[in-house]
């Protein structure tokens, strides 16, 4: 082990150091000045961006005896994760303060979760992956329960914890089978072992694979492993939902790409069918069930499930194009999701969560600008051009058609039409109905600016989607 290894792993090491610093600094900050913890955390995330930009991996470097990898994929995912965690913190600050749950732990757990995500993004062996996954999962369980006096939050935290523990168990069980068959935990050795001895590609390996897919499906929130997702989205306080709905999706993508593509890519024929089934189910269940929701957080939860269906369908093709568009889809979806939950936080105020669809009634009269922003976000999620959601869907459909599944593409677009209905319903409430609640929106200037930029980004990325798409193709092509 040489010194260079530590340079390659500098982002995680720096973040760990910064977490310790935030932890200690927070001890010396009293409740009135808690906002200082926020600023320290934002500074920490800013430092992370600098560190990530300073160390540009031009190719793969595998370190720590093959358990850690740094490549362009981990780079872009980490940068995006840092940015979205920072956005989540920014949107959350005023809400947490108004609702008297402004605790240092929120930022601290958020940062620890980020560390977990970054470990997952750079994992090159099953054990590193599992380590990152648990770091992330444990901080998320605690985050969901952060408002410990709130019964729904506590309930959803328990639900999340129990189901999450089962899923982790499945994953670990699957890992042990794969290890038993291939004799390795490191992804490329696994892949090489399967190539070297095709007879390994048989029932015991498939058995382990099935458990792995259960674990991955759970982390994505894919049907039929989705039951936790709407409950947690609804039960958690909105800032926590915002956190869960954004950056961890990038980590879930890394989980898939590292394990199933890097490690078990040779088994594509076997896992493709399983992934296709859960993807199609996610698409259908997500879109149809979302129609019936009146709670917007829950509705966005089901909408996430539908989007996961799209991401998994891109990954199911197993082509380089498919992987690249899955990355594009995830990145752009997370932008829209951050904006949408940010908008819910914007409409909330002390002791009042704007979590019902009807709370969006007459937003156009209250704030034409933010109604417009929310409209951008909703049309983007619905996949209507010229917003970026359209290009994301277009690319996935194109990848699926290229793989010869035109029928599946037809199903995907029809599901999008079903999905359009519930996004339109939000716009309908905002524009076509009169406001019951005429309170003026209260938000700090920085939140207004960032939320506006966030929402305009879905339009801007839709008008010039080229550069990001090219970047995704360079990374995974």
């Amino acid at each position: 082990m040489n010194l260079m290894d530590y340079v390659v792993a500098a982002p995680e090491i720096t973040l760990l150091g910064l977490i310790c610093f935030v932890l200690i600094a927070d001890l010396f900050i009293d409740d009135e000045n808690r906002v200082r913890t926020f600023w320290i955390s934002i500074l920490a995330l800013g430092t992370m961006l600098l560190v990530l930009n300073a160390i540009v991996p031009d190719a793969r470097s595998v370190i720590f005896s093959g358990s850690y990898v740094s490549d362009p994929l981990s780079q872009i995912l980490k940068i995006a994760a840092v940015i979205f965690v920072a956005i989540a913190f920014l949107y959350s600050r005023d809400y947490l303060r108004a609702n008297e749950i402004h605790k240092g732990e929120f930022y601290l757990l958020g940062l620890i979760g980020l560390l977990g995500m970054m470990i997952m993004m750079s994992a090159n062996s099953m054990l590193t992956m599992y380590l990152g996954l648990e770091t992330l999962a444990l901080s998320m369980y605690a985050l969901v329960a952060i408002d410990r006096n709130n019964a729904t939050s506590a309930e959803s935290a328990m639900k999340y914890f129990i189901l999450g523990a089962i899923a982790s168990g499945c994953l670990l069980y699957g890992i042990s089978w794969i290890y038993g068959v291939t004799g390795s935990l490191e992804f490329h050795e696994m892949s090489a072992a399967i190539t070297a001895d095709p007879s390994l590609n048989s029932l015991p390996l498939w058995f382990g694979l099935a458990f792995l897919i259960v674990g991955i499906g759970f982390k994505f929130g894919a049907v039929p492993f989705h039951m936790w997702l709407p409950d947690v989205y609804q039960g958690a306080r909105t800032p926590v939902t915002l956190y869960i709905a954004t950056a961890p999706k990038l980590a879930a993508l890394a989980l898939f790409l590292r394990i199933l593509v890097d490690g078990l890519g040779g088994l594509h024929d076997t896992w493709a069918a399983m992934i296709m089934i859960i993807a199609v189910l996610s698409l259908l269940v997500g879109n149809f069930v979302a129609i019936a929701q009146t709670n917007i957080k829950r509705m966005l939860g089901y909408s996430t499930i539908a989007h996961v269906g799209f991401i998994l369908l891109a990954l199911f093709t197993g082509t380089k194009q498919g992987n690249a568009v899955a990355l594009f889809y995830t990145l752009t979806y997370v932008v829209a999701a951050a904006g949408a939950f940010g908008m819910i936080i914007l409409l909330s105020r002390r002791g009042y969560d704007a979590e019902n669809l009807s709370d969006f009634r007459g937003l156009n009269a209250r704030s034409p600008w933010f109604a417009l922003m929310m409209m951008f976000l909703m049309f983007s999620m619905a996949g209507v051009p010229p917003f970026v959601g359209f290009f994301a869907k277009l690319n996935v459909i194109s990848a699926v058609v290229d793989s010869g599944f035109t029928g599946l593409a037809v199903l995907m677009v029809l599901a999008s039409v079903v999905g359009a209905y519930y996004y339109l319903r939000v716009i309908w409430y905002m524009y076509f109905e009169d406001a019951e609640d005429k309170a003026v929106l209260q938000a700090s200037t920085d939140m207004r600016v960032v939320l506006s930029l966030n929402s305009v980004a879905v339009l801007a990325l839709g008008i010039v989607p080229g550069w990001l798409l090219v970047r995704c193709i360079q990374i995974l092509g």
């Binding site: 034409p368 290009f391 035109t406 677009v413 716009i427 309908w428 524009y431 080229g466």
Partner: protein, 506 residues
Amino acid sequence: MDFSQHLLSILIWLPIIGGAALIAIGDGSDSSSSRAGLMRIVALTTSIVTFLFSIGLYVGFDNAFTDMQFIEKTPWVDSLNVFYSLGVDGISLPLILLTTFITPLVVISSWDTIKSRPAQYFAAFLILEGLMVGVFSALDALLFYVFWESMLIPMFLIIGIWGGARRVYATLKFFLYTFLGSVLMLVAFIYLYGQTGSFDLFDFMGVPLTLGAQKYIFIAFLLAFAVKVPMWPVHTWLPDAHVEAPTGGSVILAAIMLKMGGYGFVRLSLPIVPDGSEYFSGMMIALSLIAIVYIGFVALMQKDMKKLIAYSSIAHMGFVTLGLFILWSFDGGMGAGLGITGGLIQMISHGLISGAMFLCVGVLYDRMHSREISDYGGVANTMPMYAAFMVLFAMANAGLPGTSGFVGEFMVIIASFKANFWYAFLAAGTLILGAAYTLWMVKRVIYGEVANDNVAALKDLNSREFIVLAILAVSVLLVGLWPAPLVDMMSVTVEQLIEQVGHSKL
């Protein structure tokens, strides 16, 4: 910078930028404030300047040139090989002119009738105008699709915010119907992209396709365009949308958005899947005739003026699809060109007439807040000037010679006579039906004794309404009496289209 090279981009982006500026200005608290005045001026100026630019397009257009003109082509999304590629030919130019011509009229007609959020209202129309020009000038399938779908957004809001009592139902139905129709077109585009490696419409036209593939692609296109036209039996969104939309929305919907279906058939279905189109042409003719005859009867029974005109639109658009798909019913000769040209002229003419009819209903609605025919009677006594316009447009709608309504329908009927006597028999039959439902409505609304006190209190057209209706009346008569410039504009492109369709792609 040479403007003529970027004329199409100007026509697309100028109104969109104007609309964005209006959103940025925003609505004041009071619509009569000076701010409201400012944005009306911005809206009108933008739309008139756009119209003036489109005249430049007309002047610079060479009728004899067979290829696309005013071409612009820049890479847009490299990794998908998508280009920002624009151009016009004899089919799209008249439709672009119609768009830029109707929009200022709509702005003037809604000058002070829209009380709530006028800035957003005018912004929606301007943005819509830019997107519609985009649809008619896009030469890249993906660009076409982007314009085609984004167009739904402003219309969705126009009907939903400023519409009537059942506006939410109507606008959701409008959006979902058209969205459902279009997404399959997207799959077809992606399939064709897989075959050609680009989204260029001319590459799509050149690529050989099996009959099986052509059938599927035709059906995907058909769903998108038939909903838009709309053809029977996917027309049910239209009466709802028209009835609930504000006057300006109805005008744009009838005058321009319906034409996109017809345009789509000509620009995409016929040249890209000629064999598929031929295979389904019998079905298309049947559907067109059903629209003409059956919807004509439905129109006869309407009690609501807007609904009546909406159904009459469906029937008239039936002539368009009939004219287009009659192509294969000839052994050769000139009938084909006549049918397509007739269909295209019918689109322009219907754009003018239906727009004018909706404006006429709007004039009455602004005064009495009712569209029910039975609430009116004897309007001619109190509004003589209005009555004159209304009767003129009604005659045009019924296809009276000398008005634009006659030219297109007559050409289509002659063409169908050459193809098959029974087609012509059924199509010509509706000339009577058309006259019946339109003139009967005019009789009940305009003529007779003054029906009630409300009608007695009506005031005749103000100068703003007069200007709008007069401009439309002149253009209806102009196209009717002297259609030659329009026909000349189209003829070369239509000939080329027929030749292209004649080449089997199998």
